[in-house]
Amino acid sequence: MTKYPTRMGDGHVIDMTADELKADLIAGSADAADRGRIPPLKDDEIDFLLDLFKSNARVVGVDSGNEVVLTHDIGTLRLDGDQGNSGVGIPLSRLQGVQVHERAFAADTMELGHVDYSWKPVKPIIAQEQQALENILLSTIVPIFYGAMPNLGTYYAPDGPFGNPSDLLPMGKIKEAREAQELAVEHATRDIVYICGKLAEVGADGVNFDTTGAAGDADFKASLQAVEQLKAKHPNLAIQVGMAGEFVLGIHGELEYDGTRLAGLYPHHQVGLVEKAGGDIFGPVVNTNTSKSMAWNLARAVTFVKAVTAVANIPVHVNMGMGVGGSPVFETPPIDSVSRASVAMVEIARVDGL
């Protein structure tokens, strides 16, 4: 029986028969459907994905006319950063990095970010960031975001002023852990609103909250509060909210936004809260399981994201970086897998962007 080369979730090459591929596609979609209580992919969609995986093409592409808008988490750090961000260490200025993306990579939008890529460290150097942004806005054409992570972890000991829930919870100090998170929410909201307000003052097109919810439900709450307050002050500042994972971890467990408990929300419910808060673009995340095939992972990711685009009233730019959105967990992602994930998200999930 013919075997087709494909990959596991960690990127290494395996061979699978058409029956094995189809079985994994169905199982991956069923897993998403079960967890999210959403519809699985239809037979014709499974067949479309099967054809993608059976294709010998090194790179595949969407049908002409179906192209989508690209936004860029991590921004220029992929050029001048270290391998922690898959950066390639080219000593370019951030202005040059944006120009390279605009004019050499044909980026539809681009992003400026601080090397730490968290909001909190930007606060003491905000004037520097405003200055860099001003120069970029004068000399480039594409919409420019400023991106960073809410990263509530930076507000917990030893890096921040509040007790660390990861230390407190194992000691059974649930009340103290919750109080620390509630304090961190208020401080992070205040910091993010201050920073983004300064970026709006110099003409930023938008801001990108990347890996929202990485520190759990408190992280997501701080982000939603910040979006709401920013939109009230700066309605022309576009706000993109990209998630950290497919499922909001309930590290606090009781936090709510607009009457909805945040812990346990899957992407198709996350998007509604982002819309209510005032977000303009939503970035759902579906994590890659390294122990499963890419067929299983991609079908699962597309099933989750299709449920998002079915209910969204704002553009959906699915997160497609290493280890999410049907891409392998490998920091130099294989382009056969990346391009297949691109096609599946566009042609089946009908995303508005990547």
């Binding site: 936004t71 044909a106 970086g321 290493m322």
Partner: protein
Amino acid sequence: MGVGDPYGMPIAHGVAAGMGGIRTAGDLVARMQLARRMRLPEAKAYVADKLKISVADLSEVTVMREMREDLDIGVITSVPGCAKGIEAKIRIAELLGISINSVDRLKAKMG
């Protein structure tokens, strides 16, 4: 999109599914998503209507290259005399009928 080396992430996605930025009309469609929260079909239709071309031509480089040069809204190669940076964005804001924050700021500075 997110983390990954430039060849494996932005270039791969761009080739597979990207609109093409200022090679084509990718920046213009993106502007409508940011300015009006438009989903992709609506944003593409809006821009195509403003440019008086088909939606499919928005990603067609042979159409958009000439159109961008004619409209003087910036082209991807370095052409002396063509609008650069904020010069192009002023024209894009007028073309699309939207506010662009950096353009508004420039106008405010000009008094």
